[in-house]
């Protein structure tokens, strides 16, 4: 969503105008509120648009003030009221010459003064902080979300119980544009995923070592002590793993099996840069199999049933391989570490994929397909 949409602009203004030192201090350049000139700069909304918008907002404020005189209730919802920060130097300087206090009183008496509109449109009020009268006793923020952003958060909250409360509330509030069909391949369940990722990311930046309990198989655990170097993420299976190097070998620890993780304070951060060249092969690695023997592969894909589209999407991160069209077919050539995982991927294409190299993989797949046929 962009600021061409008047509602989006309104929400943008409200999110900045709650600026208040000690409460919701979104911009520490000002104690309270934001001036229109500054608001235009930080929001990238042309100043002429900001002028017109605020003219409308003050005019409406005047109309509401007039309407409220019919009733006993407070003037309007507190978060709508625009007020000048009359403690600011800018206000006091302008007030003397422009009689702002008087003009504002006229607005709040329900009679919008032409003079105020002129001053606003001419930019004379651009330096005076304006704030929203929220009278908030607790710091609260309004985060505006487009429909796609709301859908994005719904997916994110599945792995993050801390977000679930807010997303549960939102689920009851609005009618969703579309439903989301989960990927059945996302089978890894994580405890405290974000805390672990945060710790690992910090360790990568600072050079600290981490230690924890790692589940190697059902009922069996080991203590690990690692210096994290990278995190691998498999988007097809939603699988996170932390990569480190030990004794000249890449170690892979899956985050769903990490039961505990903490900084190892007994070992100071390593100051020297570790040689991470062992990780340079990462675009060629399948299934985190960094230590397996590399094999040259060559596969031909036929152009049927969106196969090419699928192949290109799924190989987008394989930056070392060659993907090219020739004679009406799509070819993929690469050096692969983790041939078993590569084989599983090829199976997904059925007869639309023909393995040309290595011969052992080709024969393996042909045999497997024949067995399946015989079985059915």
């Amino acid at each position: 969503m962009n600021n061409h949409n008047a509602y989006v602009r309104l929400q943008t203004y409200y999110s900045w105008l709650i600026n208040s030192e000690g409460i919701t201090h979104v911009d520490d350049s000002y104690k309270q509120g934001i001036p229109l000139g500054h608001l235009a700069k930080i929001t990238d909304i042309p100043i002429s648009i900001v002028h017109q918008d605020f003219l409308c907002m003050f005019q409406w404020q005047s109309s509401m003030a007039l309407a409220s005189r019919k009733y006993d209730s407070p003037v309007f919802p507190i978060w709508h009221e625009l007020i000048f920060d009359d403690d600011s130097e800018e206000y006091n300087a302008k007030n003397k010459s422009l009689h702002l206090e008087q003009l504002y009183d006229e607005i709040m008496n329900g009679s919008f003064p032409e003079r105020f509109g002129e001053l606003l449109l001419n930019g004379e009020l651009d330096t005076i902080p304006i704030f929203l009268n929220t009278e908030a006793s607790e710091t609260t923020y309004n985060l505006s979300l487009s429909q796609n952003e709301a859908a994005a958060l719904r997916l994110l909250e599945k792995n993050n119980p801390l977000l679930q409360k807010n997303m549960n509330e939102m689920k009851h509030v609005y009618s969703r544009l579309y439903d989301i069909k989960d990927n059945p391949m996302f089978t890894y369940q994580y405890n405290n995923l974000n805390e672990k990722l945060d710790l690992i990311n910090d360790a990568i930046s600072t050079g600290y070592r981490l230690r924890g309990h790692y589940k190697t198989s059902p009922g069996r655990h080991q203590t690990i002590d690692i210096k994290p170097l990278k995190i691998s993420y498999d988007a097809d299976e939603n699988l996170y793993a932390v990569l480190s190097i030990n004794h000249n070998r890449v170690m892979v620890n899956r985050l769903d099996r990490l039961e505990t993780l903490e900084e190892n304070p007994t070992v100071p951060p390593e100051q020297e840069q570790q040689d991470t060249s062992l990780l340079d092969i990462y675009p060629n690695v399948w299934g985190n199999c960094f230590s397996e023997k590399p094999e040259k592969v060559k596969v031909r894909f036929y152009n049927e049933a969106h196969v090419w589209e699928k192949v290109k999407k799924e190989l987008a991160n394989r930056t070392n391989g060659k993907l090219y069209e020739k004679d009406g077919c799509l070819y993929y050539e690469d050096i692969v570490y983790g041939i078993n995982k590569f084989r599983s991927w090829i199976y997904g294409f059925g007869r639309s994929a023909i393995v040309l190299e290595p011969r052992s993989l080709r024969e393996d797949i042909i045999r497997s397909l024949k067995e399946r046929q015989a079985g059915s």
Binding site: H4, N5, N142, S146, Q147, A152, P184, T187, N201, A235
Partner: protein, 390 residues
């Protein structure tokens, strides 16, 4: 008293907003909109043109119609803020805590019928009367910004033109910001999550624009993201009342054939696995009206054109399509089949099956301790997808 100059400015804004929202307006419509005479209406058109807006004029059914030309001047692309937008925003704000009964909703505001008590305490002030309130509600419904849920007769927000608001306490905002620092470029909806991260940074007063640890990740697997093409198609779809009216949809089949169907939308589904958006619904034809209903799936990215008809339907989010959504394994409308599969419990099998069970509301699992097996039962549409999973 409003100044003449300011009233002129207000009317110009009103006219501009109306021209932005409608394909074209006649002079009569402009006169009604601005409550002015014919000459004044022409003057307002002239003023817009003098201010740099380009208007086109064409004849239709004996009337002259005016339309706004798109322009390269960025300021002209900003929909003007108006008093009605502020009033509508006030109305929408009252739905942020959840859907509200249609009849009770009016009483949230200082909008009363003549015979009701003039007791306005604890109500949200609106500077309009009953008629204008109903016009605002009608506009909001017509523009798709609020929905009236048929089953409950409650109004709820849609987020279509007005961003949804998530109210967060300071700690919750910090937690969300922290959660977003750890997302990887391989995450589905990565770009949208990045936008949210930027917004949380703004609210917290942080400068960082980029996800801080993006460089720490090696990403494998497909690049998932709802494409711009699909987002455009979703926006196109939302221009129509697909929830209640049949649509004439032209699209391209998997085999590359152009097809056109009269379609009742049952559900819109985003498949994470396929990274694509689909319409599930009923295809109608002269034969279907009296015969069997045919359910079909349309990949949103294959749609070429949509036209709304005046024929009504009641398929949207119906029990039938909700059941289809819950029982389909991938994206499928095949007849449901009851399945029972026994898995030997070893390795990661039990974890995978338990996770599958969590995703599928019609499934059940039990264990056979004697044979050390886990038994999975389900009702599935799309056996080939299930077979591929197995």
């Amino acid at each position: 008293m409003k100044s003449k100059q300011t009233k002129t400015h207000i009317n110009q804004q009103l006219l501009l907003e109306s021209l932005s929202q409608h394909d074209s307006l006649s002079i009569r419509q402009i006169m009604e909109l601005l409550s002015c005479n014919r000459q004044s209406a022409y003057n307002y058109i002239k003023k817009l043109e003098n201010n740099g807006y380009r208007l086109s004029k064409h004849k239709e059914s004996g009337r002259i119609l005016y339309s706004l030309f798109p322009t390269e001047d960025d300021t002209l692309q900003y929909t003007p803020l108006s008093m009605d937008i502020l009033r509508k925003y006030t109305i929408l704000h009252e739905l942020e805590n959840g859907p509200v009964d249609k009849d009770r909703f009016r009483k949230h505001f200082t909008v009363y019928t003549p015979d009701e008590l003039n007791d306005m305490n604890d109500h949200v002030l609106l500077d309009v009367g009953l008629t204008q309130y109903y016009n605002l509600i009608k506009d909001l419904t017509k523009n798709g910004d609020i929905d009236l849920i048929k089953e409950t007769q409650k109004y709820c927000l849609t987020g279509k033109n007005v961003p949804l608001q998530m109210t967060l306490k300071a700690m919750e905002l910090n937690e969300l910001n922290l959660a977003l620092t750890t997302i990887s470029a391989g995450s589905v909806y990565y770009e949208d999550l990045k936008n949210i991260y930027h917004k949380t940074n703004v609210l917290l007063g942080y400068v960082d624009e980029n996800i801080p640890h993006a460089g720490n990740y090696y990403i494998y697997g497909r690049k998932s993201q709802i494409s711009e093409n699909v987002k455009e198609k979703l926006e196109l779809l939302q221009k129509y009342n697909y929830k209640e009216h049949l649509l004439q949809i032209s699209y391209t089949s998997k085999q590359g054939q152009p097809l056109s169907v009269l379609f009742a939308t049952g559900k819109i589904v985003y498949s994470v696995e396929k990274d694509a958006v689909y319409l599930l619904g009923q295809k109608l034809s002269a034969e279907n009206e009296h015969g069997d209903i045919q359910n079909i799936i349309i990949d949103l990215s294959t749609i070429n054109d949509i036209k709304e008809t005046t024929q009504e339907h009641s398929c949207y989010n119906s029990e039938q399509f909700t059941d289809i959504f819950h029982t389909m394994f991938g994206i499928s409308i095949e007849p449901p089949v009851s399945v029972e599969v026994r898995f030997d419990i070893h390795g990661n099998i039990e974890r995978k099956i338990r996770y599958l069970h969590c995703q599928r509301p019609r499934s059940a699992i039990r264990t056979d301790t004697e044979k050390n097996q886990i038994i999975y039962t389900d009702t599935i549409r799309g056996l080939s997808d299930f077979a591929a999973y197995l």
